[in-house]
Every structure is written in C-alpha cells, then in structure tokens.
Amino acid sequence: MVLEHKKARIIKDRVFTIIIIGLTILSILPLFHITIEICIRGLQAIMQSKLDFFFGVPSPPGSSQLGGIWPAIIGSFVTVLLASLIGIPISLLTSIYIIEYPKSVLSKICDKLALMLTEFPTIIISLFIYIVVVVPMGTPSAFAAALSLTIIMIPYITIQAKEALRSIPFTYREAAYSLGLPRSKVIFTIFLGIARRGILTSILIGVARALGDTASILFTAGAATYSFYGLFGHAGAIPLLIFKFIQTSYENWIQLAYGAAFILTISTMMIILILRLLIKEVKL
C-alpha cells in the first residue's frame, strides 16, 4: 500500500518533468523556426541580386529584377546614428544621476519611469513625434525618425548603464572620493572607466532596439523607397521597408522584405553574441 503510493508519486514526478521539458522546448522552438525560414528565404533574395542587394535601389514593383535596399540601409544608419548621438549622453547622465543621488525624488521617479518606458507602446511615440515635430516642420523626416528612436533608446540604455554603475564595489567608490577629486571628475574619469563594459553593453542594447523598431518611425520617417533625401527629407529604414514590402503583392518586393529581414535578424544576433562576450547577465 505504502509502496504503491510512493510509486504513484514517482510516476507523477516523471510525468510532470516530461511536461515541463516539453513546454520548454515548445517555447523556444519558434525562434529556431523563424531563424531558419528567414535565413533560407532571405539568403535566396540576396543571392539573386548579389552585391546589388546592398548598393542598389528597389526595382519597380512587379519587375523580375529584385534590386536592393540601399536607401533603407542608409536611412537606418543615419537615423540610428543621430538617435545615438542625442540619446546616449541623455541616458548616461540620467543613470549617473540615479546612482549618485538615489535618495532624491527625481531619481526615484526616473528609476520607475525608465522601467515603464521599456514597456511603452512604441506607436504612441510615433504619434507624439508626429504632432510635436512632423506637423510643425510640415514633413516627415529622417530627423523626426531619429527623435522617435531616441525615445526608444533612452530607457534601455539608462537601465543597463545604471546596473553597470551600481555594480562598482563600494571600496572603489570610497577610494575614488578619498583622492579629493570633484564629483564630476570622479564619475567621468574613474567610474565610467571601471564600468566601461557595462556601459558598452547598455549602448549596444539601445542600438539594437532602435535598429529594429518599426512602429515608432511609422508616421515620422515618411516614405523614401528609392533614394535618401537628406536629414530633413523623407527617409526609409530597414524595418519600415520590411513592414511595407511584405504587405504588397509584388513578388520582387516580398523577396526584398525577406532579404532585409535576414539582415535585421543577423545583426540582432551578432549584437546579442557580442553582449554575451562582454557581460554574463543581460537585462533586456
């Protein structure tokens, strides 16, 4: 009787274990399916137009030629670069403030706010920049898109940089301050140096987010399929191109979307692998 009861418990344990393992496999399986499918279809597209894929413009809809996604690549590069130039200083200084003055009301609010902003619907950012920047300027532009991406980037960099700065051992802090340097010197020459790996991680995460975000630039970047029109003209971007082209019914544009999706997927994975080498635990 007792033995049977024990047996039942052991069987229950086994079944439970199998269910857990099965569900775990089920939850990571989609990633591999996505990666494989996107790689196969994307590589096909890139093989078809070779180097032209990176340096050409999309061929007209419906033609047998593919063309390339050069305008989207340059658009993404310019907007993300500009967003980094604006966003990185703001977020680093915010994280420094949160760590250096943890008791002030401002830093407590910002601490929570940064976390909230990572879960923020990015389409709202698009609407906001549309009203505040695009309408007064009269046209969507690469500049407006860069501002959207800045807002995307800030919370991620702030949170990660904050963690990096927090992990500096207290004895190091004490030693740095005992040198008699002013606070700004201590922070910029010593603390940022000690936490440089973490800071780099934070910037990479921010860039990865900005590079892949579609919704936030949907209304702010405008439409530039065939060319790049400068900082204050319409701009394209890789995620935007994927989003628009995959919804068309032209075979060659759909192919281009797959190729672009492949590039986006590969660059994201590269960034994640670099992050893993830089630091063990990543908070995304």
């Binding site: 274990t17 857990i20 939850s27 003055y101 800030i154 989003f243």
Partner: protein, 306 residues
C-alpha cells in the same frame, strides 16, 4: 545642492518631460472626439467616415478595443504555462550548459525585432495555423454559431495572439525566473528534507511566488495591448466583431496604423485615432504599473533580497 547635481538633474528631467508630454499631447488631441461622442466612443462599434459632411462622421472603437483585449487575453493565456515551465526548467532541471544555451536563446527572442516576428507570423505561421488548426476546428465545431466562419488568409485574432505569446515568453520567463531564484535556499532544503518529490517541492515553491506570477501576467498583458507591428501583420485588419478567435479583426494599434494615413482628410477621424491611442495607453500603463508594483512589493513582504 552642489553644482554637479544641479547640472545633471537636467537629464532625468528630460525623461519626465517626454513621458508626461506624451500623455498631455494625447489627451489634448483626443478631447474633441471625447466631447462629441462621450462614452459611446468606447461602447459603439460603428466606424463611419464622411468626406462631404463632418456631421455624419461617427467613430466608435468598440471593435478595435474588443480585438485588443481578446488578443491580449489569449496571448497571456498561452504565454503563462510556457514561460512558467521554461522558468522552472532553467531553475530546477537544466545543467549549466543547457541553462546558458537557453539564456542566449531567450535573449535573442527578446531582441529579435517585432517586424521579423510579424513577417514570420503573416507568411508562415498564418497559413500553417489555418490548415492545421482552424479548418479542423471549424469543420468539427462549425455547427455552433461561434465557429461558423474563419479568415481565409489565416490572419486572425488567434494567429495574432499566438505571435504575441511567443514574443512575450522571454519577458515573462525573466520575471518568473528572478522571483524563483530569490526564494531562500533553506525553504527548498526544508521541503526536500521532508521527503517531497521534486514536483511537490516545485508546487510549494510556486505558491511562494504567486505575486510574481500575477506580475508576469499583468506585464505580458500590458505588453500585448501595446504591441503594434507584429499584430498589424497578423490580425487581418477588418471591422468585424465576433466571438470567434478565427475571424480577422482589428486591434487599437492596427487601427492606428491602417487609418492614420488618410485620417486627416476627415474632420474627426484623427481625433478618434488619438482617442483610441489614449484608451490603449491607459490600459497598458495600468497593467504595467500594477505588474511592476506587484513584483517589487512581493519581494519586500517575503523579506527576500530585493
């Protein structure tokens, strides 16, 4: 107050300024439609645009709101068991190598751009789901009124929920995992020493992180409500309000994406869209706030490391 503090306080202030002005701008721009239609803006499902006569325009977002809540609830229901078992597997079963592999995989899932999920969901998942899930169910249960029709492209509420669920797994897993590892080792030792099997121990330990589970549900729900790109590509985008998850629908976010382009040709359409965005943002913010507070309060009440 030293000078450095004063100078750097400028930057966190920017963060607060951006956040609050987003709310203010949305509220300001949706006032006209809220004044005009009142509560019926949320409860009505007619979406009527008129170029000639603005008086005839009427915008009710009930359809989109229904779609948003439906997809988010379905998505959360799918995410929870999957992320719970992934978290348990990582904490209890996985050897170090496997754990590291899973960590990298989950990181990639979290960073993979949403548009890639959208492309996959639209062109690969949707037809598969249509052929292997929707059609068999509709054939078997078609006599009930609920399942009588389905979306021929496979793009429907259910597909969107599936993609959302996959996208939310890494986030929910991270919260659950963090909470699970925070349980002091002595509890686990105590339970095991009473002769409990691993299953029984896990069940007791899960009871201790109940708040974290609720937090994970709230956060994934909030995230699902606000997700745009992947949903727009998979939900099917049609003004249909149905109980069936296999019918193409609209969510607030996909409504915004699809209607924003020509909204300015009508008098009230753009206000209606801002209003819809505001309602969506409120749901999202409440869920996220509740989730974050629950997650931190839970750690405090149990006296665990925070």
């Amino acid at each position: 107050m030293d000078r450095f503090k004063f100078l750097t306080s400028f930057f966190p202030s920017i963060l607060i300024l951006i956040f609050s002005s987003m709310f203010i701008v949305l509220i300001y721009n949706s006032l006209p439609i809220l004044e005009r239609e009142g509560i019926r803006f949320i409860t009505d499902s007619t979406w009527r645009a008129s170029e000639s006569n603005p008086e005839e325009e009427w915008y009710g977002i009930a359809t989109a709101l229904w779609g948003t809540l439906y997809t988010a609830i379905l998505a959360t229901a799918i995410t929870l068991p999957l992320s719970l078992s992934t978290a348990i597997f990582i904490c209890e079963f996985a050897p170090r190598k496997v754990r590291e592999f899973l960590a990298i995989t989950l990181d990639m899932m979290a960073t993979l751009p949403t548009v890639v999920y959208g492309v996959w969901g639209m062109t690969i998942l949707a037809p598969t789901v249509r052929d292997h899930v929707i059609i068999p169910i509709v054939e078997a249960l078609g006599w009930t009124l609920i399942f009588s029709e389905y979306s021929p492209s496979g793009q429907c509420i259910f597909t969107a929920a599936l993609v959302l669920a996959i996208m939310n797994i890494p986030y929910a897993t991270a919260i659950l995992r963090e909470a699970y590892t925070m349980i002091p080792q002595v509890y686990r030792e105590g339970i095991i020493s009473l002769g409990a099997t691993r299953t029984e121990a896990i069940r007791i330990l899960l009871g201790m992180i109940k708040h974290a589970i609720i937090a994970a549900v709230a956060l994934s729900f909030g995230k699902a409500v606000g997700e745009t790109t992947a949903v727009t590509l998979t939900v099917g985008n049609s003004f249909k309000m149905s109980l069936s998850p296999f019918v193409a629908g609209y969510t607030v976010t996909s409504l915004l994406v699809n209607q924003f382009g020509n909204a300015y040709t009508y008098k009230y359409a753009s206000y209606a869209l801002y209003g819809a965005a505001l309602v969506m943002l409120l749901i999202n913010t409440i869920c996220i706030l509740a989730g974050l507070t629950l997650a931190s309060r839970w750690a405090k009440t149990y006296g665990f490391r925070t």
